[in-house]
Symmetry: C2
Subunit: 516 residues, 2 copies
């Protein structure tokens, strides 16, 4: 707010603009990691996992519940018995060799394009929550407006590299048509990269058609503009829905996340090393299939990974074995030269409490040190993915910014200049007024805005505002300041026409969306 000459408080566009100008919403470039990775396996142990996975593929085989895939595999020279495909290790190696190690993941704003793979990494918000905790921390079913709010925040939070897709499930629109509105919301409210729904082969085609309106079909033939996730059914099964969506993406040369869905101990052996061997076999089978569909198309080694409490059957996160398996999977993906996706900030807390904080930070550290390229579910995840928390979304994004800084490693640039301050100040002095400090303090040490480090007296004097409310105040402020990134009017109209046509064609009832 500002105060005019006669002392009247003026609020409004001008005041909001003033605030806006002070908040930097420029996206951080794709992280380029400099911190060494955590690699707990020796080269021999990496080969041990590889050999175990290849044995599984050759002798146990993988079930592809999909006649097209089975025919594709037979044509590609694999042994097919019923629905089981037995994959020779030589064939697997030959196929995955054509997966690009790196590519550029394009955004509609080229300033937000992301180099992908190798030592680059990106943060992508959570998706798929059937509930949200909203701007008042109330848990309820989400709407398209809620989804738009998450897309707006994704656009404004510097450490978020994508608007993802259905961060929350918009319940106010028919399931069968939702993918259209979700995709439009991702595109419209943010000019960062986005994800494509893969809830059915037809839905995937719709997403790809909309991407083609935005980027041009020809451009997509040679450029990655939208990622699609395909989950496996562990152990060792891929189903028709996912395989159909995978084919849609691969045929248009768009990157697919090949993601076994692992509940460690329930659908894998009760062993970290053997779980990784199975998961690795599953990922390899899908990665290989992407190259059967289209040789050279981009593909991403993926997984969704929890361990299961043998007391309750509940999925667990932030546990030591999740960290260890992430480290191992990172080594396997690099061994094959394939970029990889993991899940960040998972947890099972019911509220945005200390448990949520512990779990998220443990996972964030693990996936950073594991060298993941695509850190999905990086903001908002809570309650085992059952809700996306608006407050946690904001705080997670700041934690990602801190993780980003850590992974950039040590800054040596001003080492000599900084050292020269030491004799200036001398024993017993202080650095607060030193020119080097004045010049560098803003960049030298990260100052988290969502953490309150003041004294309890000061905190109480300011109303004893808890972190959930601090984050929700921030979310409301940001949404007030939000400015939509300009979308070409012609493109916008074409997208809306497409949606209108498809909504006429698609009956307003369908199976439930399921994707993780």
């Amino acid at each position: 707010m500002s105060v005019d000459a006669v002392g009247t408080v003026r609020r409004g566009r001008g005041a909001r603009k003033a605030t806006r100008q002070t908040r930097d919403i420029t996206m951080l470039p794709a992280l380029k990691r400099k911190l060494p990775l955590t690699e707990p396996m020796s080269p021999e142990q990496v080969e041990k996992i590889d050999a175990a996975s290849m044995d599984i593929l050759e002798t146990v085989g993988v079930v592809f519940r999909d006649p097209i895939a089975l025919a594709d595999w037979a044509n590609a020279g694999a042994k097919v018995v019923g629905e089981t495909v037995y994959l020779d290790r030589a064939l697997v190696r030959e196929l995955i060799a054509t997966i690009p190690e790196t590519f550029t993941y394009h955004a509609r704003n080229p300033a937000n394009n992301l180099p992908f793979g190798d030592d680059h990494a990106i943060f992508v918000p959570m998706t798929g929550a059937p509930y949200l905790r909203d701007l008042d921390d109330v848990r309820r079913n989400p709407t398209l407006d809620d989804l738009a709010n998450f897309h707006k925040l994704s656009h404004m939070l510097p450490a978020m590299h994508s608007s993802a897709h259905h961060i929350v499930e918009p319940y106010d629109h028919p399931i069968s048509q939702r993918h259209l509105r979700i995709t439009y919301s991702s595109i419209k409210h943010s000019d960062k990269t986005f994800m494509g729904m893969t809830t059915s082969p037809k839905n995937a085609e719709d997403v790809l058609d909309m991407a083609a309106i935005l980027f041009g079909a020809e451009f997509m033939e040679t450029h990655a503009v939208v990622t699609g996730n395909c989950n496996g059914n562990s152990p060792l099964v891929w189903d028709e829905t996912m395989l159909g969506a995978m084919r849609a993406f691969c045929r248009r040369n768009q990157p697919v996340l090949c993601s076994p869905f692992v509940l460690g101990g329930a659908n894998t052996p009760a062993s970290t090393a053997a779980t990784v061997a199975q998961l690795n076999a599953e990922a390899l089978s899908a990665l290989a299939y992407t190259q059967v569909i289209r040789k050279g198309c981009p593909a991403i080694y993926g997984h969704y990974l929890t361990t299961v409490s043998m007391k309750s059957g509940a999925p667990m996160a932030g546990t030591p074995e999740i960290s260890l398996m992430n480290f191992m999977i990172g080594q396997m993906a690099r061994f094959y030269g394939v970029p990889w996706r993991t899940s960040n900030t998972l947890g099972g807390a019911k509220t945005f409490d200390a448990q949520a904080g512990y779990e998220s930070a443990m996972t964030l550290n693990a996936v950073l040190m594991a060298g993941a390229n695509y850190m999905w579910h990086s903001a908002g995840w809570n309650e085992a993915g059952m809700h996306c928390s608006m407050a946690k979304f904001i705080v997670d994004a700041e934690m990602c910014a801190m993780g980003y800084r850590m992974a950039q490693g040590i800054n040596w640039d001003d080492f000599d200049a900084a050292l020269s301050a030491i004799p200036d100040v001398g024993p017993g002095g202080h650095y607060l007024g030193h020119p080097h400090t004045l010049e560098h303090f803003q960049k030298a040490f990260f100052m988290p805005e969502m953490f309150d480090n003041n004294s309890i007296e000061q905190w109480q004097a300011e109303g004893a505002v808890e972190i959930t409310e601090r984050a929700l105040i921030r979310a409301r402020d940001m949404l007030n300041e939000y400015e939509e990134p300009k979308l070409d009017a012609g493109v916008n109209e074409e997208l809306l026409d497409y949606i209108a046509r498809r909504e006429r064609e698609i009956p307003a009832a369908d199976a439930l969306n399921q994707e993780y």
Copy 2:
């Protein structure tokens, strides 16, 4: 509770004993790390820090505000000008060369002895809190009974390797005599290792006399039984109180933590690398002095490390630079072959909220991956150390147990057996009933007891108990089940006699205890 033949509920010793038998309070052995450490500096960069630190010691010098130390340094061949000691790098290297790389840290129960240094690591509770959040989460000044409760919990929590000393400040006893009661409480309520107060040279002598009653003076001549922390005043100052306490410990061959007290950006340059160079110079100056006092006595490279918010002046924790500096300091300590101490789970949250969880987990990860040998402040710390939270104490201890498991690395023992379950189960099956799972699930995946991973419906049906209350219920249960580890009656009497005599001799008023 149990129900007798006529249905009457019986509570009491028998029932409590039954519960007690189900909780495993066996201390985890000192962690032996197998996970590779995070080492962001090249050998050349380590030498760059070393050279910068040595330049500081030679040309800027270190102030020792203590006539005895100044005389000792002059005798040792250092250049002394006023209170400033200029330390030649050859002298520093020669002195620190005699610090033992490893030793055994003895507990009164030999089963709780700890191998120390190298790839071993121990978790030590927080100390020094002027407030606690108690069993009802009420923030207030602590008493000796509160302190005893923390010592009891330290004794029972498997991941805690020490009862430390004044986890909280007991305000119901005169300051000048507190160190006696604190030490007695540490020794009496736990048979793990403990720490010695260093609030003055005389207080340190009292602690060492009490340790001698427990272990024998002669035993102490060749065995480490109590650690003392000595803080520096950064930049580059050591004061008389700390140096006097240091001499007391070194003379009896007990390990001293040489801990510069760093508020990054305020008492060091606004640069991570230059901050480490200064901190390293400070630590080296004190480590070298321990060997002037007594050649070959154990000593520990220490530090207390925060960064300062340049907006508010508040100390910050869980920030990326704290992690990076821990990684660097670990490399420096290993370069010199000296075991090292860091601070774990620091944070500035006012309640046990998501901020506390994030900060603690970020720091836990950093200090584990940095390879610290002595992880002080591993449980209870909150509000920048102003309070110790009973609830957080319990949860932190479980987080340490999870960090412990992670740092042990991958278990390959049953890899082949676990793999053989995969063809048994086959594509689309599940592992829950498989013999391998039944045999291994309890050890395969950590099941945190303080994290609730059930569905929200189940959580609500059970009363929607938040993590703070869950942890406090656990704390109350444990305190009910507590059994004091037997202390020899003669030793106990001798300790009480010593305290009675010293309390007659020491006036019941003194300066405030200050130690961090």
